[in-house]
Protein backbone atom coordinates (compact mmCIF):
# COMPACT_ATOMS: atom_id res chain seq x y z
CA UNK A 1 0.00 0.00 0.00
CA UNK A 2 1.25 3.49 -0.85
CA UNK A 3 0.29 6.41 1.29
CA UNK A 4 0.02 10.08 0.46
CA UNK A 5 3.02 11.96 1.88
CA UNK A 6 0.71 14.86 2.85
CA UNK A 7 -2.36 13.30 4.46
CA UNK A 8 -1.25 9.66 4.74
CA UNK A 9 -4.39 8.27 3.18
CA UNK A 10 -4.12 5.41 0.73
CA UNK A 11 -3.33 6.29 -2.89
CA UNK A 12 -3.12 4.32 -6.11
CA UNK A 13 0.28 3.80 -7.67
CA UNK A 14 0.82 6.29 -10.47
CA UNK A 15 -1.94 8.66 -9.34
CA UNK A 16 -1.34 12.32 -10.20
CA UNK A 17 -3.18 13.79 -7.24
CA UNK A 18 -4.28 12.50 -3.88
CA UNK A 19 -8.03 11.85 -3.91
CA UNK A 20 -8.36 12.94 -0.31
CA UNK A 21 -6.26 16.08 0.01
CA UNK A 22 -5.95 16.98 -3.71
CA UNK A 23 -2.19 17.53 -3.36
CA UNK A 24 -0.14 16.93 -6.49
CA UNK A 25 1.83 13.67 -6.37
CA UNK A 26 3.73 14.06 -9.63
CA UNK A 27 7.04 14.84 -7.91
CA UNK A 28 7.03 11.43 -6.28
CA UNK A 29 8.02 9.74 -9.53
CA UNK A 30 11.06 11.94 -10.23
CA UNK A 31 14.09 9.70 -9.72
CA UNK A 32 16.53 10.95 -7.10
CA UNK A 33 20.24 10.14 -7.36
CA UNK A 34 21.00 7.79 -4.51
CA UNK A 35 24.79 7.96 -4.33
CA UNK A 36 27.45 10.65 -4.79
CA UNK A 37 28.59 8.84 -7.95
CA UNK A 38 25.14 9.18 -9.48
CA UNK A 39 24.91 12.81 -8.46
CA UNK A 40 28.28 13.41 -10.09
CA UNK A 41 27.24 11.70 -13.32
CA UNK A 42 24.14 13.87 -13.54
CA UNK A 43 25.88 17.08 -12.50
CA UNK A 44 29.39 17.03 -13.98
CA UNK A 45 29.68 18.11 -17.57
CA UNK A 46 31.69 16.30 -20.24
CA UNK A 47 34.18 19.16 -20.33
CA UNK A 48 35.31 18.26 -16.80
CA UNK A 49 36.75 15.07 -18.33
CA UNK A 50 38.97 17.36 -20.41
CA UNK A 51 38.32 15.61 -23.73
CA UNK A 52 41.48 15.09 -25.75
CA UNK A 53 41.94 17.02 -28.97
CA UNK A 54 40.73 14.85 -31.83
CA UNK A 55 43.02 13.57 -34.53
CA UNK A 56 41.49 14.66 -37.80
CA UNK A 57 42.00 13.80 -41.46
CA UNK A 58 40.36 14.93 -44.69
CA UNK A 59 37.97 12.52 -46.47
CA UNK A 60 40.35 11.90 -49.38
CA UNK A 61 43.29 10.75 -47.21
CA UNK A 62 44.36 7.23 -48.26
CA UNK A 63 43.47 4.47 -45.79
CA UNK A 64 47.10 3.40 -45.48
CA UNK A 65 48.12 6.85 -44.26
CA UNK A 66 45.31 6.86 -41.70
CA UNK A 67 46.37 3.46 -40.33
CA UNK A 68 49.94 4.68 -39.91
CA UNK A 69 48.70 7.83 -38.20
CA UNK A 70 46.71 5.75 -35.70
CA UNK A 71 49.82 3.76 -34.84
CA UNK A 72 52.27 6.66 -34.60
CA UNK A 73 49.89 8.73 -32.48
CA UNK A 74 48.83 5.69 -30.41
CA UNK A 75 45.15 6.41 -30.87
CA UNK A 76 42.13 4.25 -31.51
CA UNK A 77 40.13 6.56 -33.72
CA UNK A 78 40.41 9.41 -36.18
CA UNK A 79 37.75 11.93 -37.13
CA UNK A 80 37.08 12.65 -40.77
CA UNK A 81 36.51 16.36 -41.22
CA UNK A 82 35.44 18.09 -44.42
CA UNK A 83 35.34 21.91 -44.49
CA UNK A 84 35.32 22.15 -40.71
CA UNK A 85 32.46 19.72 -40.44
CA UNK A 86 32.63 16.26 -38.90
CA UNK A 87 31.45 13.78 -41.50
CA UNK A 88 32.68 10.47 -40.14
CA UNK A 89 34.79 8.46 -37.74
CA UNK A 90 37.23 5.62 -38.37
CA UNK A 91 38.18 3.34 -35.48
CA UNK A 92 40.17 0.21 -34.76
CA UNK A 93 36.92 -1.70 -34.96
CA UNK A 94 36.26 -0.39 -38.48
CA UNK A 95 39.75 -1.50 -39.48
CA UNK A 96 39.08 -5.00 -38.19
CA UNK A 97 35.56 -5.28 -39.59
CA UNK A 98 35.98 -3.63 -42.99
CA UNK A 99 39.63 -4.01 -43.98
CA UNK A 100 40.73 -7.11 -42.09
CA UNK A 101 43.04 -9.46 -43.97
CA UNK A 102 42.23 -7.80 -47.31
CA UNK A 103 43.83 -4.54 -46.18
CA UNK A 104 46.34 -4.47 -49.06
CA UNK A 105 43.52 -3.94 -51.58
CA UNK A 106 42.29 -0.88 -49.72
CA UNK A 107 45.37 1.13 -48.72
CA UNK A 108 45.14 3.48 -51.72
CA UNK A 109 41.43 4.16 -51.37
CA UNK A 110 40.15 7.30 -49.61
CA UNK A 111 39.19 6.96 -45.96
CA UNK A 112 35.69 8.20 -46.78
CA UNK A 113 34.99 4.83 -48.43
CA UNK A 114 35.20 2.89 -45.18
CA UNK A 115 34.56 5.38 -42.39
CA UNK A 116 31.43 5.24 -40.28
CA UNK A 117 29.48 8.29 -41.47
CA UNK A 118 27.63 10.69 -39.17
CA UNK A 119 28.75 9.44 -35.78
CA UNK A 120 26.77 10.13 -32.63
CA UNK A 121 28.11 13.29 -31.01
CA UNK A 122 27.61 15.09 -27.72
CA UNK A 123 28.18 18.68 -26.63
CA UNK A 124 30.89 19.56 -24.12
CA UNK A 125 28.19 21.07 -21.90
CA UNK A 126 26.22 17.80 -21.69
CA UNK A 127 26.37 15.71 -18.52
CA UNK A 128 28.70 12.75 -18.25
CA UNK A 129 25.72 10.44 -17.72
CA UNK A 130 24.86 10.94 -21.40
CA UNK A 131 28.32 9.88 -22.53
CA UNK A 132 28.07 6.73 -20.42
CA UNK A 133 24.56 6.11 -21.73
CA UNK A 134 25.62 6.43 -25.39
CA UNK A 135 28.67 4.24 -24.91
CA UNK A 136 26.85 1.56 -23.00
CA UNK A 137 23.71 1.42 -25.11
CA UNK A 138 25.44 1.96 -28.46
CA UNK A 139 28.57 -0.03 -27.65
CA UNK A 140 30.84 2.85 -28.68
CA UNK A 141 34.36 3.36 -27.44
CA UNK A 142 34.72 6.95 -28.62
CA UNK A 143 32.31 9.87 -28.78
CA UNK A 144 33.19 13.07 -30.64
CA UNK A 145 32.57 16.14 -28.48
CA UNK A 146 31.33 19.35 -30.05
CA UNK A 147 31.36 22.88 -28.71
CA UNK A 148 28.75 25.06 -30.37
CA UNK A 149 28.61 22.78 -33.39
CA UNK A 150 32.38 22.56 -33.86
CA UNK A 151 34.40 19.41 -33.20
CA UNK A 152 36.66 20.12 -30.24
CA UNK A 153 37.42 16.80 -28.58
CA UNK A 154 36.87 13.11 -28.16
CA UNK A 155 35.93 11.17 -25.06
CA UNK A 156 36.90 7.53 -24.84
CA UNK A 157 35.63 4.68 -22.72
CA UNK A 158 38.97 4.85 -20.94
CA UNK A 159 38.25 8.41 -19.76
CA UNK A 160 34.88 7.26 -18.44
CA UNK A 161 36.41 4.26 -16.68
CA UNK A 162 39.06 6.51 -15.11
CA UNK A 163 36.36 8.96 -13.97
CA UNK A 164 34.24 6.21 -12.43
CA UNK A 165 37.25 4.51 -10.83
CA UNK A 166 38.20 7.75 -9.14
CA UNK A 167 34.67 8.60 -7.98
CA UNK A 168 33.78 5.15 -6.75
CA UNK A 169 37.06 4.88 -4.92
CA UNK A 170 38.08 1.44 -6.10
CA UNK A 171 39.75 -0.25 -3.11
CA UNK A 172 43.48 -0.58 -3.52
Amino acid sequence: MITCPFCESEILEGADICDDCQQSLTDMSIPQPATPVERGLLKDRIKTLEPKAPSTVSPDTPIGTVLEKMITESIGCVMIVHEDELIGIFTERDALMKLNAEVSQFVERPISSCMTPDPITLEAKNRIAFALHKMHVGGYRHIPIMTEGKLTGVVSIRDILAYLTERIGVPV
Binding site: E38, L41, L67, I71, G76, M97, H133, I168
Partner: protein
Protein backbone atom coordinates in the same frame (compact mmCIF):
# COMPACT_ATOMS: atom_id res chain seq x y z
CA UNK B 1 29.77 2.47 0.95
CA UNK B 2 27.80 -0.58 -0.15
CA UNK B 3 29.08 0.01 -3.64
CA UNK B 4 32.72 -0.22 -2.60
CA UNK B 5 31.89 -3.27 -0.60
CA UNK B 6 30.46 -5.09 -3.60
CA UNK B 7 33.51 -4.14 -5.71
CA UNK B 8 35.79 -5.90 -3.27
CA UNK B 9 33.53 -8.87 -2.56
CA UNK B 10 31.99 -9.67 -5.93
CA UNK B 11 34.02 -11.91 -8.20
CA UNK B 12 35.07 -10.63 -11.60
CA UNK B 13 32.78 -13.24 -13.13
CA UNK B 14 29.88 -10.95 -12.15
CA UNK B 15 31.15 -8.25 -14.50
CA UNK B 16 29.85 -9.90 -17.66
CA UNK B 17 33.01 -11.61 -18.91
CA UNK B 18 33.02 -12.87 -22.49
CA UNK B 19 33.57 -16.43 -23.51
CA UNK B 20 37.20 -16.41 -24.70
CA UNK B 21 37.94 -17.18 -28.32
CA UNK B 22 40.85 -19.59 -28.45
CA UNK B 23 43.27 -20.29 -31.31
CA UNK B 24 46.32 -22.50 -31.75
CA UNK B 25 49.77 -20.82 -31.80
CA UNK B 26 50.30 -22.17 -35.31
CA UNK B 27 47.16 -20.56 -36.77
CA UNK B 28 47.97 -17.92 -39.34
CA UNK B 29 47.27 -14.29 -38.55
CA UNK B 30 45.04 -13.63 -41.55
CA UNK B 31 42.72 -16.46 -40.54
CA UNK B 32 42.68 -15.29 -36.94
CA UNK B 33 41.68 -11.80 -38.05
CA UNK B 34 38.88 -13.21 -40.18
CA UNK B 35 37.74 -15.25 -37.20
CA UNK B 36 37.69 -12.10 -35.06
CA UNK B 37 35.57 -10.37 -37.68
CA UNK B 38 33.17 -13.29 -37.92
CA UNK B 39 32.82 -13.43 -34.13
CA UNK B 40 32.81 -9.61 -33.81
CA UNK B 41 35.35 -9.81 -31.04
CA UNK B 42 38.31 -7.62 -30.20
CA UNK B 43 40.71 -10.26 -28.96
CA UNK B 44 41.65 -13.93 -29.09
CA UNK B 45 43.67 -16.01 -26.66
CA UNK B 46 46.48 -18.08 -28.10
CA UNK B 47 46.56 -21.37 -26.19
CA UNK B 48 48.42 -24.63 -26.34
CA UNK B 49 47.27 -27.68 -24.34
CA UNK B 50 44.87 -25.49 -22.37
CA UNK B 51 47.57 -23.05 -21.32
CA UNK B 52 47.53 -19.39 -22.34
CA UNK B 53 50.63 -18.41 -24.30
CA UNK B 54 49.52 -14.99 -25.45
CA UNK B 55 46.78 -12.63 -26.51
CA UNK B 56 46.15 -11.12 -29.91
CA UNK B 57 43.97 -8.02 -29.97
CA UNK B 58 42.49 -5.50 -32.36
CA UNK B 59 45.39 -3.21 -31.62
CA UNK B 60 47.91 -5.87 -32.70
CA UNK B 61 45.87 -6.39 -35.85
CA UNK B 62 45.90 -2.65 -36.54
CA UNK B 63 49.68 -2.55 -36.19
CA UNK B 64 50.05 -5.35 -38.73
CA UNK B 65 47.63 -3.67 -41.12
CA UNK B 66 49.46 -0.35 -40.88
CA UNK B 67 52.82 -1.99 -41.50
CA UNK B 68 51.39 -4.04 -44.40
CA UNK B 69 52.89 -7.07 -42.65
CA UNK B 70 52.80 -10.62 -43.91
CA UNK B 71 49.50 -12.08 -42.74
CA UNK B 72 50.43 -15.68 -43.42
CA UNK B 73 52.80 -15.88 -40.45
CA UNK B 74 51.82 -17.75 -37.31
CA UNK B 75 49.87 -15.80 -34.70
CA UNK B 76 52.47 -16.80 -32.08
CA UNK B 77 54.96 -14.52 -33.87
CA UNK B 78 52.90 -11.40 -33.37
CA UNK B 79 50.84 -11.99 -30.23
CA UNK B 80 51.57 -10.26 -26.90
CA UNK B 81 53.19 -12.97 -24.81
CA UNK B 82 52.16 -13.91 -21.27
CA UNK B 83 49.33 -11.42 -20.96
CA UNK B 84 48.41 -9.91 -17.61
CA UNK B 85 45.59 -12.08 -16.31
CA UNK B 86 43.17 -12.46 -13.44
CA UNK B 87 42.50 -15.49 -11.31
CA UNK B 88 38.90 -16.69 -11.22
CA UNK B 89 38.49 -15.53 -7.61
CA UNK B 90 39.75 -11.98 -8.29
CA UNK B 91 37.21 -9.29 -7.47
CA UNK B 92 35.78 -6.62 -9.70
CA UNK B 93 37.81 -3.86 -8.02
CA UNK B 94 41.07 -5.60 -8.91
CA UNK B 95 39.97 -6.01 -12.53
CA UNK B 96 39.08 -2.31 -12.79
CA UNK B 97 42.36 -1.28 -11.24
CA UNK B 98 44.39 -3.50 -13.56
CA UNK B 99 42.53 -2.24 -16.61
CA UNK B 100 42.81 1.45 -15.82
CA UNK B 101 46.44 1.26 -14.73
CA UNK B 102 47.69 -0.92 -17.57
CA UNK B 103 45.37 0.48 -20.22
CA UNK B 104 44.06 -2.99 -21.03
CA UNK B 105 40.66 -3.61 -22.53
CA UNK B 106 40.74 -7.37 -22.18
CA UNK B 107 42.01 -9.51 -19.32
CA UNK B 108 41.94 -13.30 -19.47
CA UNK B 109 40.44 -14.99 -16.41
CA UNK B 110 42.34 -18.15 -15.50
CA UNK B 111 41.22 -21.07 -13.36
CA UNK B 112 43.54 -22.38 -10.65
CA UNK B 113 44.97 -24.87 -13.17
CA UNK B 114 45.78 -22.02 -15.54
CA UNK B 115 42.97 -22.78 -17.97
CA UNK B 116 41.24 -19.73 -19.51
CA UNK B 117 37.63 -19.64 -18.32
CA UNK B 118 36.62 -16.16 -19.40
CA UNK B 119 37.67 -12.80 -20.70
CA UNK B 120 36.99 -9.68 -18.63
CA UNK B 121 36.30 -6.77 -20.96
CA UNK B 122 35.99 -3.05 -20.40
CA UNK B 123 32.44 -3.19 -21.79
CA UNK B 124 31.54 -5.81 -19.20
CA UNK B 125 32.94 -3.63 -16.44
CA UNK B 126 30.98 -0.61 -17.68
CA UNK B 127 27.85 -2.77 -17.88
CA UNK B 128 28.47 -3.92 -14.31
CA UNK B 129 28.93 -0.35 -13.08
CA UNK B 130 25.83 0.88 -14.89
CA UNK B 131 23.88 -1.93 -13.19
CA UNK B 132 24.57 -0.16 -9.91
CA UNK B 133 22.89 3.03 -11.00
CA UNK B 134 20.39 2.02 -13.71
CA UNK B 135 18.01 4.90 -12.99
CA UNK B 136 20.72 7.44 -13.73
CA UNK B 137 21.70 5.93 -17.06
CA UNK B 138 18.80 3.98 -18.52
CA UNK B 139 16.15 6.63 -17.96
CA UNK B 140 17.95 9.36 -19.90
CA UNK B 141 16.22 10.80 -22.96
CA UNK B 142 17.84 9.86 -26.29
CA UNK B 143 19.07 13.42 -26.77
CA UNK B 144 20.34 15.68 -24.05
CA UNK B 145 18.24 18.79 -23.80
CA UNK B 146 15.22 17.14 -25.38
CA UNK B 147 12.09 18.25 -23.59
CA UNK B 148 9.12 15.97 -23.88
CA UNK B 149 6.07 17.94 -24.89
CA UNK B 150 3.61 15.75 -23.00
CA UNK B 151 3.84 13.33 -20.20
CA UNK B 152 3.76 9.77 -21.46
CA UNK B 153 0.23 8.36 -21.29
CA UNK B 154 -1.27 11.74 -20.50
Amino acid sequence: MSFQLSLSTEAVTAAYPDQPLIVEPTANVGEVMQLMRAQKTGSVLVCENGKVLGIFTERDALKLMAAAADLSQAVSQVMSQDPVSLSADANVGEAIKMMSQGGYRHLPILSSEGKPTGLATVYGIIHYLVDHFPQTIYTLPPNPGAITSEREGA
